[in-house]
C-alpha cells in the first residue's frame, strides 16, 4: 500500500483531529503519516521534512496561511500545498492561489473529496472544490485584475507586507536575530523571507537588497529623486 506523508497546518485542534478521522476512514487505500503544525512558523519548519502534501488553513495566528505558503514555496517551489478554509469569499481564495498553492477546498468536504483533492494535486493538477470554482466564476473581478497590470511593478506589488518589513529592517542594518525579535518571528523565518525577497527581486547578495531597501527608509516627500 502506498504511503502518504501529510502535513496539517491549522490552529484548531478540532479541525486537525477531524481531518485525521477522515483520512483514517480512507486507510484501506493509503497508509498515512500525519504531521501537525499549529501556526505558520511551525508549518514552515516542518515543511523542510518534505511531506507529499501540505494542507494549510488560511486563517493562522502570527503569519497568515498565504504568507506561510509563499515562504514555503519560496524555498521549495515544488512543494504541493492544498489550501483549506472556512471562508469561501473570493479574495481569500485569490490570495492563496496567487502564492502558487495547488488547490483550494472548504472545511465542509467529506473524506472521498479530500482524498480526490490530494490525488489530483499529487498527479500534478490543480483542485478546487465546487463551491470555490463557482465563486471564482461568479466573482466579477474585471477591475480587480486590471489593478495588477505588469507596469505596476512597484516594490509593494512584488513583495508581501511582511517581506517589505524585513527588507526595511535589513536597510536599517538589523541582524537576522534583531529582525526576528522586532517582528516576533523566528530567525529561520527571517532567513526564509530574506531568501524569498532576493529571489523575487533577482539580486545575488545583501548589497543588492540594500539598494531596494534604501528608498523605503527615506522620509516621504524627500525620496531619492
Amino acid at each position: 500500500m502506498k504511503t502518504l506523508k501529510i502535513l496539517l497546518v491549522d490552529d484548531h485542534k478540532m479541525i486537525r483531529d477531524g481531518i485525521k478521522s477522515m483520512l483514517e476512514s480512507q486507510e484501506n487505500k493509503y497508509k498515512f503519516i500525519i504531521d501537525e503544525a499549529e501556526d505558520g512558523e511551525e508549518g514552515l519548519a516542518k515543511s523542510k521534512a518534505n511531506p507529499h502534501i501540505i494542507i494549510m488553513d488560511y486563517q493562522l495566528p502570527k503569519m497568515s496561511g498565504a504568507e506561510t505558503a509563499a515562504l514555503i514555496l519560496g524555498s521549495n517551489p515544488k512543494a504541493k500545498i492544498l489550501a483549506l478554509s472556512n471562508y469561501n469569499e473570493y479574495m481569500y481564495i485569490d490570495k492563496m492561489i496567487k502564492t502558487g498553492v495547488k488547490g483550494f477546498i472548504l472545511k465542509n468536504i467529506g473524506p472521498e473529496e479530500l482524498l480526490k483533492a490530494i490525488e489530483t494535486i499529487l498527479n500534478g493538477s490543480i483542485y478546487y472544490s465546487s463551491d470555490v470554482a463557482v465563486k471564482m466564476m461568479s466573482f466579477d473581478n474585471n477591475s480587480a485584475q486590471s489593478k495588477k497590470t505588469p507596469k505596476d511593478n512597484k516594490l509593494e506589488e512584488i513583495l508581501s507586507q511582511r517581506e517589505l518589513e524585513v527588507l526595511k529592517c535589513i536597510g536599517e542594518e538589523y541582524t537576522s536575530e534583531e529582525i526576528a525579535k522586532k517582528l516576533s518571528i523566528s530567525k529561520r523565518t527571517v532567513d526564509s523571507h530574506r531568501q524569498n525577497i532576493m529571489n523575487k527581486l533577482n539580486v545575488k547578495n545583501i548589497a543588492g537588497l540594500v539598494k531596494y531597501a534604501l528608498p523605503l527608509l527615506a522620509p516621504s516627500g524627500s525620496s531619492l529623486g
Binding site: 477522515m22 476512514s25 469569499e89 479574495m91 468536504i109 465563486k135 477591475s143
Partner: protein, 520 residues
C-alpha cells in the same frame, strides 16, 4: 406782499389788543381772500357787540395749560398765569418785575435771544429751552413769543407762551431707548436676523448675519435671500410655506455663503404688513446649526462605529470559533459515514447522512449570518472587493443580473466610511430583491464624478415605490441610510418610479480627516 394780507395782519394784531373797530375794505376781486375778509369783519362786529369783561380774559389767561408770561419791553415779568406758579413754584412777588432770564437756564441769553429773533422782522419766534423751578428742577419747554402792542400800536412788551415738554420728552426718550434696545438686540444677537422685501432682497441684516453669509456690505442690496438657499427643492418648499402661512418656524435649510460653504440652518420667518394690509416684507432669524449638526454627526458615527465593532467581534467569533468547531464535528461524521459505507448498514447510513446534511445546513447558515453581520472581505480586503463578494454571493442560484462597475485603483478610505458605504449597498440590494422583486441591479462607484467625493450610484429595475411616502421617511431602512450618509456630510438622492425601478445617487466626501477630528 398782497396788500389785503397786510391789512388782515394789522387787523389781527388789533383784535389781540381788544380793538375791534378796525375794518378792512374788500377789493373788487371777490376771491377767497375777499370772502375771508368779510368773515373776519363779521367776527369783529360780533366780538365788539358781546360783553367781554376783563375777568373773562383773566379766566382764559389762567385756564390754559401752557405757561403764559407778559413781559415788559425790558424783559421784566409783568404778569404770569397760574400754570407758571404751579409748575415753577415761584410766588407772584418773586416773579414780578424781574427779568425773565432769572428763571431760565441760560440766565442772560434768554431775553436777548428773543429780542434778536424778533428783530429779524419775525412776528413770532419759536424755540426750545429750559425753565428752572424754585428748587432748581429744569423743565424742558417749547417757547413762542410775540410783541404786544397798545391801542396806539406802540410796543408795550412781549407775550411768551412756554409749553411744558417734559412728558413728551419722556416719551421721546423712552422711544429712543426702546429703539436703541431693539437695535442693540438686533445688532448684538449671535443669530442672524434679517429683514427682506417680498422678493427676498435683503433690506437689513445684523453682524451675525454678515458673518454667516460672508456677504460684503456693498453686495447686500443686490443679493436675494432666496438665492442663498443652495438646494432648489428646499428653496421652493420654503417659499411655498411662506406664501401659505403667516409665519414659518424652524425650517431646515442649507444655506450657501459667498465662500461656497454650505451651512445647515434653522430659519424662522414672519410677514410684515403695511397699513393697508399688504405684505411688505419678511423678518426672520437664521440659526447656524452646523456646529450642532457636526456634534450630532459625530454622535451618529460613534454609535454606528461602536455597533460595527461589536458586529465584527460577533462575526469573527461565529466564524472562527463556532464555525471551526462545526467543521471539526462534520469531519468526524463524514469519516464515520465513509467507514459505515464499507459495512453497508443502511439504517446507520441514513442517520449519518441526515446529521451530515443538518450540519451542512447549519454551517451554510452560519457562514451567511456572519457574512451579513460583517464580511471578512470588507475587513481584510476593502470596500470594492466586499461589494463584489456580496453580488457574487447573491448571484449564485438566482436570476438576478448584477452590473458592477468600480473605479480602478479605488482609493483606500477610512474603514468606518467603507462600512457605511457597504451597509447602504447591502440595504439597497436587500430592498431590491425582497420588496422590489428586481432582476437587474446596477452598481457604480467612483471618485471621479466629484473630486474628493465618493459617488455611489445604485439602480434596480424593481417595482419601485411612491416617492411621496418617501419624504416622510417612514421606512426605518431609508431613514437609517439617510442618517448614515448625512453623518458623513454626504447627500443621498432617491428616485423611484412605480413599475420602473429605484435609483439612489449618493455623494460622500472621503477626506480621512473626519475620523481624526472625532473627539470622542
Amino acid at each position: 406782499m398782497e396788500p389785503r394780507l397786510e391789512e388782515i395782519n394789522k387787523l389781527l394784531i388789533n383784535y389781540s389788543l381788544g380793538e375791534f373797530d378796525y375794518k378792512i375794505e374788500p377789493s373788487e376781486k371777490l376771491d377767497e381772500i375777499d370772502a375771508f375778509i368779510s368773515n373776519i369783519n363779521m367776527l369783529g362786529e360780533e366780538l365788539k357787540i358781546s360783553t367781554i369783561s376783563r375777568d373773562y380774559f383773566n379766566n382764559i389767561f389762567n385756564s390754559v395749560s401752557d405757561m403764559l408770561f407778559v413781559l415788559s419791553n425790558e424783559g421784566k415779568i409783568s404778569n404770569a398765569n397760574r400754570v407758571v406758579k404751579d409748575k415753577l413754584n415761584y410766588t407772584e412777588d418773586q416773579l414780578k418785575h424781574n427779568v425773565i432770564d432769572f428763571i431760565t437756564k441760560q440766565k442772560h441769553h434768554f431775553f436777548s435771544h428773543i429780542k434778536d429773533e424778533l428783530n429779524k422782522n419775525e412776528h413770532v419766534v419759536s424755540f426750545d429751552s429750559n425753565l428752572s423751578s424754585v428748587n432748581g428742577q429744569d423743565i424742558p419747554v417749547n417757547c413762542s413769543c410775540s410783541y404786544l402792542y397798545n391801542q396806539n400800536k406802540e410796543r408795550i412788551g412781549y407775550l411768551l407762551i412756554a409749553r411744558d415738554q417734559s412728558i413728551i420728552r419722556k416719551y421721546e426718550q423712552s422711544l429712543i431707548e426702546s429703539e436703541n434696545k431693539y437695535r442693540n438686540v438686533f445688532e448684538k444677537s449671535s443669530d442672524c436676523l434679517f429683514i427682506i422685501n417680498p422678493f427676498g432682497k435683503i433690506l437689513d441684516i445684523n453682524d451675525a448675519g454678515m458673518q454667516l453669509f460672508k456677504i460684503p456690505r456693498e453686495m447686500l442690496s443686490i443679493k436675494s435671500f432666496f438665492e442663498l438657499i443652495s438646494d432648489k427643492e428646499e428653496r421652493e418648499l420654503f417659499q411655498q410655506e411662506l406664501n401659505k402661512k403667516e409665519f414659518v418656524v424652524d425650517f431646515n435649510l442649507k444655506i450657501k455663503n459667498s465662500n461656497e460653504a454650505v451651512i445647515s440652518c434653522l430659519v424662522s420667518v414672519s410677514k410684515s404688513y403695511n397699513q393697508s394690509g399688504e405684505v411688505v416684507g419678511y423678518q426672520g432669524i437664521v440659526k447656524d446649526m452646523s456646529r450642532q449638526r457636526e456634534m450630532e454627526n459625530i454622535l451618529v458615527r460613534t454609535v454606528l462605529d461602536t455597533q460595527e465593532k461589536e458586529r465584527k467581534r460577533i462575526a469573527t467569533d461565529l466564524h472562527d470559533s463556532l464555525g471551526q468547531k462545526l467543521s471539526g464535528i462534520k469531519f468526524h461524521i463524514e469519516a464515520l459515514k465513509a467507514m459505515q459505507k464499507n459495512i453497508k448498514d443502511r439504517k446507520y447510513d441514513t442517520i449519518l447522512t441526515r446529521s451530515n446534511d443538518a450540519l451542512n445546513d447549519a454551517m451554510v447558515e452560519l457562514s451567511n449570518i456572519s457574512f451579513n453581520i460583517m464580511p471578512g472581505t470588507l475587513q481584510n480586503f476593502g470596500l470594492s472587493y466586499a461589494i463584489k463578494e456580496l453580488c457574487a454571493k447573491l448571484k449564485v442560484g438566482s436570476d438576478i443580473f448584477f452590473d458592477v462597475t468600480i473605479e480602478e485603483n479605488f482609493p483606500e478610505i477610512d474603514k468606518a466610511l467603507e462600512i457605511t458605504i457597504f451597509r447602504i449597498t447591502q440595504e439597497f440590494i436587500n430592498n431590491s430583491i425582497k420588496h422590489g422583486n428586481a432582476s437587474k441591479i446596477n452598481i457604480r462607484m467612483d471618485t471621479s464624478f466629484l473630486p474628493g467625493n465618493i459617488s455611489l450610484f445604485l439602480q434596480d429595475n424593481g417595482k419601485g415605490f411612491e416617492i411621496k411616502r418617501l419624504s416622510e421617511y417612514k421606512s426605518m431602512g431609508l431613514k437609517n441610510m439617510k442618517s448614515r450618509v448625512e453623518s458623513y456630510n454626504g447627500t443621498i438622492k432617491i428616485d423611484s418610479i412605480q413599475g420602473w425601478g429605484t435609483k439612489y445617487e449618493i455623494l460622500i466626501p472621503f477626506n480621512n480627516n473626519i475620523a481624526k477630528e472625532n473627539p470622542l
